[in-house]
Structures are given as structure tokens and as C-alpha cells.
Symmetry: C2
């Protein structure tokens, strides 16, 4: 299995070469996303909507995402996206680090290479070595009054189809959980569709409690817009 290989020392040695020669190494990196990544995020959001059978509810466009994501450049204080990237060559070490987050690297040893039909579309590299965006997790702070602590709410966790069942989702969820702990936050929460048994099993294995008695309420569309015209009852409208 990929995770069974003993880790080599960090500097390149003969041992490293020997370990890699018998497998297909896939280098992965989790990093903060920014404005230049919106195009890839947009495509993945729509792929996710198809998987969730909710395409009819997905009206996001690349311009509308550009206008609302990463506008204040303060990761973790508002909407934040981690991307997971993969490459068959080592990542360059030139990525600038955020004060509260450094990219997370891990190497997988696969039994067979991955054929990515959308490799060109999701290539985020400006060099000749391809760096492919394989998934994303989008989250933002929430707040628990019971704990009197902030937490993180994960809106989306998505791994592109050809990279699934390799542990990438687990790596991204772990990264968010680890960030929450580092910031002293009390909870990480998200929702799951009750028919998505694979996801539920995965989340439970990650230590999450899938709560059965809460229901999500949503006020949106025309029902929400109707409140624009409800009685303002400002100062002069006393009775």
C-alpha cells in the first residue's frame, strides 16, 4: 500500500531512489489558493455539483466567484481555500508561506500511474514540470456560543475523480482540522447527504460525529427576497 513504505531521510540518498524505483511516486502539496486559482475552483465546483446531483442549483460562474472569493486576502478570517496539487516530480520550494500556514507536502507511492484526462485544464504550473490541481477544500470561520469559540465550517471538500481513493480527501480534511487546532478553535463542521454512505463512513473514520437529529433550514431565492419589502418599521413607524 502507498502508506506502507518507510519514510526515507529528507536528503536525497540511494535509499530514496531504491524506494521510488519499485513504485509510482506522486508528490502532493496542500497550499492556500488565491485569485489565479479561481478558474480551476470554478470547474471543480461544477464537477462537484454533478456528483451531488445538484447541478440545477449551481449558478456560480468564474466572474461571480472572482468577485466574491479572496477579496480581502485574509485567509482563515473569511472564506479560505486549500488546494491539493500533485506532480510526478518534486515540488519547487519557492512557494511563499503565510504566517499562519505553510504548505503541506506528502509523497504517495502508487501501484500504478494515474491517467488524468483533464491534466492540461488543471495544470497550475508555469514551468515544464506539470503541477496538477487534484482537489480543493473551501471553508470559513463559524462560531459556537456553547463553546464560546470560533471554529471552521467546511462548505466543500472535493477530489477530482481520477485522484479519488488515494487519501487526498483525508489529507485536506486533516489539514483543516490541524489548522483549527493550531488556531485554538473548538470545532470543524460540515454537512453530508444522508445517501452518501461512502462519505459518511469516511467522516466517521476521521473522528466526526454525524448528527442525526439536526435539520438544515434554508431561506433563499424569492422567499428571501420577500424580506426586502417587509415592514422596515423604523423610527417613525411606531405602531
Amino acid at each position: 500500500m502507498a502508506s506502507a513504505a518507510p519514510p526515507p531521510p529528507p536528503t536525497a540518498t540511494a535509499e530514496l531512489n531504491m524506494n521510488l524505483s519499485t513504485n509510482y511516486p506522486l508528490f502532493t502539496r496542500i497550499r492556500l489558493a488565491g485569485k489565479p486559482d479561481v478558474s480551476a475552483i470554478h470547474k471543480m465546483i461544477h464537477q462537484m455539483a454533478v456528483f451531488e446531483r445538484l447541478s440545477d442549483q449551481c449558478s456560480a460562474t468564474e466572474p461571480s466567484l472572482s468577485a466574491t472569493l479572496f477579496s480581502n486576502n485574509t485567509p482563515f478570517e473569511s472564506v479560505t481555500v486549500f488546494l491539493i496539487e500533485v506532480s510526478t516530480t518534486l515540488f519547487p520550494s519557492s512557494v511563499s508561506h503565510h504566517p499562519k500556514f505553510s504548505p503541506i507536502h506528502k509523497t504517495l507511492n502508487l501501484d500504478c500511474p494515474i491517467s488524468d484526462p483533464e491534466m492540461e485544464t488543471f495544470n497550475s504550473s508555469k514551468t515544464e514540470d506539470a503541477i496538477i490541481i487534484a482537489g480543493f477544500v473551501l471553508f470559513f470561520p463559524n462560531y459556537s456560543t456553547f463553546l464560546a469559540k470560533p471554529g471552521f465550517y467546511i462548505e466543500d471538500l472535493f477530489v477530482r475523480e481520477c485522484y479519488r481513493r488515494k487519501g487526498l480527501g483525508k489529507m485536506m480534511l486533516s489539514a483543516v482540522a490541524k489548522q483549527a487546532v493550531a488556531m485554538g478553535y473548538g470545532r470543524v463542521e460540515w454537512v453530508v447527504l444522508d445517501w452518501n454512505m461512502n462519505a459518511i463512513k469516511f467522516y466517521e473514520q476521521m473522528g466526526a460525529n454525524v448528527m442525526q437529529e439536526w435539520r438544515v433550514c434554508r431561506l433563499t431565492g424569492d422567499a428571501l427576497q420577500g424580506y426586502a419589502t417587509t415592514s422596515g418599521t423604523h423610527d417613525l413607524d411606531l405602531i
Copy 2:
């Protein structure tokens, strides 16, 4: 009882006197909360926990709330609290207005006066006319990738027991919905316990869709803390 006395009219007119003379008027105001309100908010959070049969999960203290609420003084961009206050006399007009929100006033004509056993505890007035905090709604921005728009998530909506069934909860929920529309947001969301049929009926009457197929997942406590020690796998830990 204190709340039984009909209030003097603000600008005495015969018409106003006639309207009020047959009922018990209760003046209400929704305003932004701030640091000085944390004590009252703390008490209401614990009353809410009792109602929800979740007291064992409520560890918030007044100092821990003080340390985490209203720290950046930017309502609507992070955790925001609206308080609903009631008074048997007209509210003074001296409240400072936020650029994005003006207090919302409404007068209820009740059939009988309200006896508030905790009137002293929840008196937020510094003058001799009592202004009583009757409830609160706590919310913060979230984000929908499908809409590519922010929204509001309501963490808590609470009306103190003696003020229930007077429309105060509806007024607070409407205020949040109206604020969302004013800011161009796409959704207002919250969760409800599946056994709380009164709340579910109320929310549906407000236009909300109570979604049956989503389940809330929560990673907290020791399960979350465990991620502090998961493999950092930073730059030097490549495999």
C-alpha cells in the same frame, strides 16, 4: 405590574391615545449588540441550552464570550448579534446608527401585560425607564459556492420565555433576512432539532425550506485535538 402601565405618548395626539387606550402597548427595538451586552447574552445562551436539553454541551462563560465576541467591531463581517429589547415607554432616539444598520422599532399591542421575573437582570437601560433585553439572534457570514455569494448563518435565535409567542422571534429572523437582502447575500441558513415541531412550523411559515437529506458532521473535543499531532509532513518530511 411595571409593564402594565400604558406609556405616555411621544407626541401627544388624540389618535395615538385612542389606539393605546384599549391595549397594553409594548415598544420593541432591534439593535446591534456590543461588549456591554455580553453578560445578558451569556445568560440567554445558558437558558437556550436548557431549553434544547443540551446544557451538558454548554461551557461558555462570560469571560470566554467576552474574549471572543465583538473583538473586531465589524458587524456583519464576522460574528454579529442583534438584541431585541422591550419597554413600556418609548425608546430614546439617541442610539448611534451603524452605516449598514439602523435599529428597527415596532410597537406591539398586547391583550395583557407581561410579567417578567428577570426584569432586573435583563435591564439594559441606564435611565429610570426600564429597557429589557428579551432575546437575541447571533449570526455570521457563510458562503455558498453554488451561488458564488455570501450568506448569513444563524447560530442562535432565542426569545426569553415570558416574551414568547408575541412575534419577537419572527421580528429578529426577519431582521437578519432583510439585512442579507440589503447586502446582496444569497441565503440565510440555520439548523433546527428534528423534534422541535413548533420551531419547524415557524420556520416553514417564514419561507424556509427545512431540508431532510443533509446531516451535520462535527469534529470536536479529543477527536479534533488529535489532529494537532498528525503528521505535519512539512517540507522536509517528503514521504
